[in-house]
Symmetry: C2
Subunit: 395 residues, 2 copies
Amino acid sequence: MLLPYFEMHFMTTRNNCSADLILPLPAQPGTALADVDTPSLLLDLDAFERNLDRMQARANRAGVRLRPHAKAHKCPDIARAQVKRGAVGICCQKASEALPFVRAGIQDIHISNELAGPAKARLLATIARHARVSVCVDDARQVPVLADAARQADTCMTVFVEIDVGQGRCGVSDAEAALRLVEQIARHSGLRFGGLQAYHGGAQHRRARSERRDESARAAERTGAVITRLRADGVHCDVVTGGGTGSVEFDLESGVYTEIQPGSYVFMDGDYGRNEWDDNANFEQSLFIATRVMSVAARTRVVVDAGLKSMAVDSGLPGVRETANAVAPLRYVAANDEHGIIEASDAAALPGLGAQLLLVPGHCDPTLNLYDEIIGMRGQTVECLWPVAARGLSR
Amino acid sequence: MLLPYFEMHFMTTRNNCSADLILPLPAQPGTALADVDTPSLLLDLDAFERNLDRMQARANRAGVRLRPHAKAHKCPDIARAQVKRGAVGICCQKASEALPFVRAGIQDIHISNELAGPAKARLLATIARHARVSVCVDDARQVPVLADAARQADTCMTVFVEIDVGQGRCGVSDAEAALRLVEQIARHSGLRFGGLQAYHGGAQHRRARSERRDESARAAERTGAVITRLRADGVHCDVVTGGGTGSVEFDLESGVYTEIQPGSYVFMDGDYGRNEWDDNANFEQSLFIATRVMSVAARTRVVVDAGLKSMAVDSGLPGVRETANAVAPLRYVAANDEHGIIEASDAAALPGLGAQLLLVPGHCDPTLNLYDEIIGMRGQTVECLWPVAARGLSR
């Protein structure tokens, strides 16, 4: 699994430049944690594997299919690890995002989103020649665009009707509109109606578990009503897909979803960490940013080398992972473009020049999108480097 | 200038996959604005060139050298345009960030920052074999690390002492500490003392012009005191470098700086746009994110295809560029990972499905860091695509 990435790195960095003007990889298999170059994205492989196993086991117990969302990791190696454990395929959020996964052999991809315009529909139709592909619509005008693209590529695409189950973002709001879309889809030979997408993004981050349970219940109720209405017209929904890391424990029990699409459970993050969880429903923090102290000149605070270009801060500043011998907790209090400011209640607890810290990013998805590779750690040693092959693929 | 990028795109996307599993470029020279794929980063070349000319003219008038900061653009094509107008070289913030610029032929690079550890010092020493390189220190322990790296690479590096002029981030706080560092540097044959770095990042974003003037004056006063103290010991500072887009009009007049290092003036952004400016000191917004309406299902709001993965939001959500025929201003009110929510006071003003909008990013530097290419627009037509070659190079 490693060789292609190293080869790729070697080839692309070797082109058109002196042999020594190459950025070395941040680590190699066997590198000790203390020697990993910074800032870098670390994955605790033990925690990661437990998260994958736990979600798959939970889906299996409920008899619901797991289709993890690849927008969280953007990494074909992780998608393969999910499929190997029983995932039926993956979700992507954009047509372009699907490309590296198809190239890596993932055979079943659901675009859990609407596509903005014919160029994206053409790209998806091209992908559909190599893999099983589905996509969402929430407007009748999207349907002929997909049909044209499928016809031109001489292929077939599965189309889901997205319904709004409480977020007020994408998706039609009532069963009549859903039915009209199903009828639209049926008019085109290159399109096949796949079922319903019913995802409530806003419900995932409600802090109280009871609020997430209630939101999930309302989403399931709305979805059930649409299913019933469609069935009355002879339309059967083979697949009902939705659910995220924050709501999945309830979605699985709802009896409505045939498929769940959580993404963040792979890594977790500071924001999900602030949610209230049932002990048995929790996943472990597996994703960290390795950073180093680059300046101690200010004395009452130290400066680390990871700032806004190394982490997303939309869900708050990162936490600092506590170490066993810490005198007092460290706080990451400000992010500049390339600098982070670390403070402690007791200045004696501040780390020294060159010390390595591990940060817990506030929001995993856009943080992953800043890195070219994930460094897989087994304990204190690097085991693998995985390219974030879909990084930046937002079209 | 275009061919190498297109060739590179072709080569790297062609490897190891079916010929049709390639992501098309978002535009080609000659593409009309309305046909540019989204989300994409657009540069208004007319405004961009005026910004470059204006800053160079201002530096020339003051008799101060311009060394623009490449951390803002990460784009060798832009660095070349700056050097062609008279810039003496560029600043980078990280050793790795300098690599693509050296490969592109930029011959003079100042790392306006301390390096965290020996691996980065080794990389910089390697770069110093190909270009004139300088770097900052603010701790005696950083000096032998640089000296060792220079010796191993059989090269020489110029070292600046960074002084804290009010930000409380990096830099020594007094002249005695600066003097001790100068003495440290002098002990190593592979190192040469270059002068002082005196940069106040916090001063750049003070809203009131008078506050920025006062901060700049205080920074200049502090810097002047250190220069005087060093001179008393026979140490002459050939170069005093600092200043950013927000303070440069005052820094240029201070009589202290021999070199200014602004970066954002190339693009401007929402945050700088909220600063109060002297009319003659202002630069123009040249950077925009092109996005498209992908869902109108919610009716009272529309959803666009640019979210957290297409813009940095640390300095606020993006603005929406007003168009001549707008009924009411549009507001970007929420960013999800891949979705943006657009509202208007008058729902009749909401754009239709597929409509293209231009957004003004809140903070240009970390936004650039999300894109692989800048699309240069001449009016309503694409003129060029420039790779953001240093994107993601944060080590």
